[in-house]
């Protein structure tokens, strides 16, 4: 059931991302939360969705260019995180160090699916070329309404790609992550640090995606201010 739910959510996100509406529902910060919620772990979904949003902030569809498929990548990473978290919890792994370690390995294994998704999108464009021919044929036979409806057939392949690839990718990545951590529990702490560095890197990727000469200045100034504030709060709160 987990895999079916994840597949449907990923399929709908793949459709919303380009074919219908484009209301940011397929963006990582939203999709991560929704997928996590659908799989019964919204905390894990939000945990991975936030840095993925910033990592892929520049993934935009400008003209005929194709960005990475951030929705498929997010669905796979969220699914893998939830699946691995369940397996580790069942084995008695709890505590704050578990989720970051799972997340960093899930990102490492799941992120390439965003590239696979881009290839699938190229395939969908070629499929749509055939739909265009079908539309011309329908028009030639006098079926104007039939010609117009051909457009909706273009939603099928992106949905199918999400439906199949997201659960498959999540199942493989999730089982590898849980197997690795069950065999090397001592890696939990160091992997958490890897997650912290990755999260910071993701923010830098977001800032770089903003094509403005002043963006680096604002980014570094806010980074310094945020570090001071968060650092002071951490030290004052006793967790520092």
């Amino acid at each position: 059931m987990t895999y079916l739910v994840l597949g449907v959510v990923a399929g709908l996100a793949a459709v919303e991302r380009k074919g219908f509406l484009q209301a940011m529902l397929a963006r990582p910060v939203v999709l991560g939360t929704l997928a996590g919620l659908a799989l019964g772990d919204p905390v894990a979904g939000l945990f991975v969705g936030v840095p993925l949003e910033l990592l892929w902030l520049g993934a935009v569809n400008l003209g005929a260019s194709l960005p990475v498929h951030e929705a498929l990548g997010t669905a796979v990473i969220t699914g893998a995180t939830v699946i691995a978290a369940r397996a580790l919890a069942a084995a008695g792994f709890t505590g704050p160090a578990v989720l970051p370690a799972i997340a960093v390995l899930s990102v490492a294994l799941g992120a390439p699916m965003a590239l696979v998704g881009r290839s699938a999108e190229r395939m969908a464009e070629r499929w749509n070329d055939r739909l265009l021919e079908r539309a011309h044929e329908a028009l030639a036979t006098g079926s104007s309404a039939g010609m117009a409806q051909v457009n909706l057939l273009g939603l099928a392949l992106p949905f199918g790609v999400g439906l199949v690839l997201a659960p498959a990718g999540a199942a493989i990545a999730g089982s590898i992550v849980s197997a690795l951590l069950l065999r090397a529990p001592a890696a939990l702490g160091p992997l958490g640090m890897g997650w912290a560095v990755f999260a910071g890197f993701a923010c830098a990727s977001g800032a770089r995606a903003l094509r403005d000469l002043r963006a680096p200045v604002y980014f570094h100034a806010a980074l310094a201010a945020g570090a001071l504030l968060a650092g002071s709060a951490a030290l004052a709160g006793g967790g520092g």
């Binding site: 936030v50 935009v60 409806q149 457009n151 980014f219 806010a222 650092g231 951490a234 967790g239």
Partner: protein, 254 residues
């Protein structure tokens, strides 16, 4: 004949599927023809041959930003009414579409894709870190309030004014707003880095913040020098993990 409100609403709804069958030869042409179909059905109700000819002219190449294309769709309907009434040549519709699609694509890409959406994405990330999922919902609501209202406004303006819609779009001042949103988004990314470090689950929190800040500063430097995104992301993960492993060996704990 003028189009009814329900027909216009139907066309607008269908415009949300503009990119459903994006293809390499005509790009958004199938989506545009799909959106304009209810209007052509109403305008050429008793004349299938003229309807077919009208559909054919909307199967020509079309590519624009999916939001700002609403203005072109509205304007195309404005012109189609005149064509159906015999007040304009069919060629006028094609000229209108081909003239506006490039400039409106540039405006839409520049404002929505490279400014508003990244800004709201960074705002949602910061909101999620500060107050959890309600922060995401608030950001999403803000984005769609702007996106949908602008999309509807542009459609209405295009339909009512035809070619004069350009003046309305220019008055919105989108390029200037985009520049402000981009620098604000960059600042939000900086704040997110520090907060992500604090919420990374690493204990002590100050270590998490330090590692995240180093990742942000180092990552920005690497990406500025042309590093590719995914390999650089792997290098960041590996560097953080290896540093922590080395530290744990030195201090015998973690």
């Amino acid at each position: 004949m003028t189009l009814s409100r329900s027909t216009l609403a139907h066309c607008f709804f269908r415009s949300l599927f503009l990119q459903a069958a994006w293809n390499r030869r005509g790009m958004q042409n199938l989506g545009f023809a799909y959106a304009v179909d209810p209007a052509l059905r109403a305008l050429y109700a008793g004349d299938p041959e003229r309807r077919r000819a009208a559909m054919e002219r909307h199967l020509g190449f079309f590519n624009c930003h999916p939001y700002t294309a609403a203005a072109i769709l509205g304007g195309a309907l404005h012109h189609e009414e005149k064509v159906a009434a015999g007040q304009e040549r069919p060629r006028e519709v094609e000229i209108y579409k081909s003239t506006l699609q490039g400039p409106l694509a540039a405006i839409g890409d520049g404002f929505f894709w490279t400014a508003l959406r990244p800004f709201v994405g960074a705002l949602a990330a910061l909101g999620a870190l500060a107050i959890g999922w309600p922060g995401v919902v608030l950001a999403l609501t803000l984005y769609n309030a702007i996106h949908l209202s602008l999309r509807m406004t542009l459609f209405r303006a295009g339909y009512r004014q035809g070619d004069a819609v350009i003046g309305d779009i220019a008055r919105l001042g989108l390029p200037a707003a985009a520049a402000r949103l981009r620098v604000a988004a960059a600042a939000l990314c900086g704040l997110c880095a520090a907060l992500l470090g604090a919420r990374s689950g690493v204990v002590p929190h100050s270590a998490g913040i330090l590692f995240a800040v180093l990742g942000a500063a180092g990552g920005h430097l690497a990406l500025s020098r042309g590093a590719r995104l995914l390999p650089a992301a792997y290098a960041a993960m590996a560097a953080g993990t290896a540093t922590a492993l080395a530290a744990s060996r030195l201090h015998g704990r973690f």
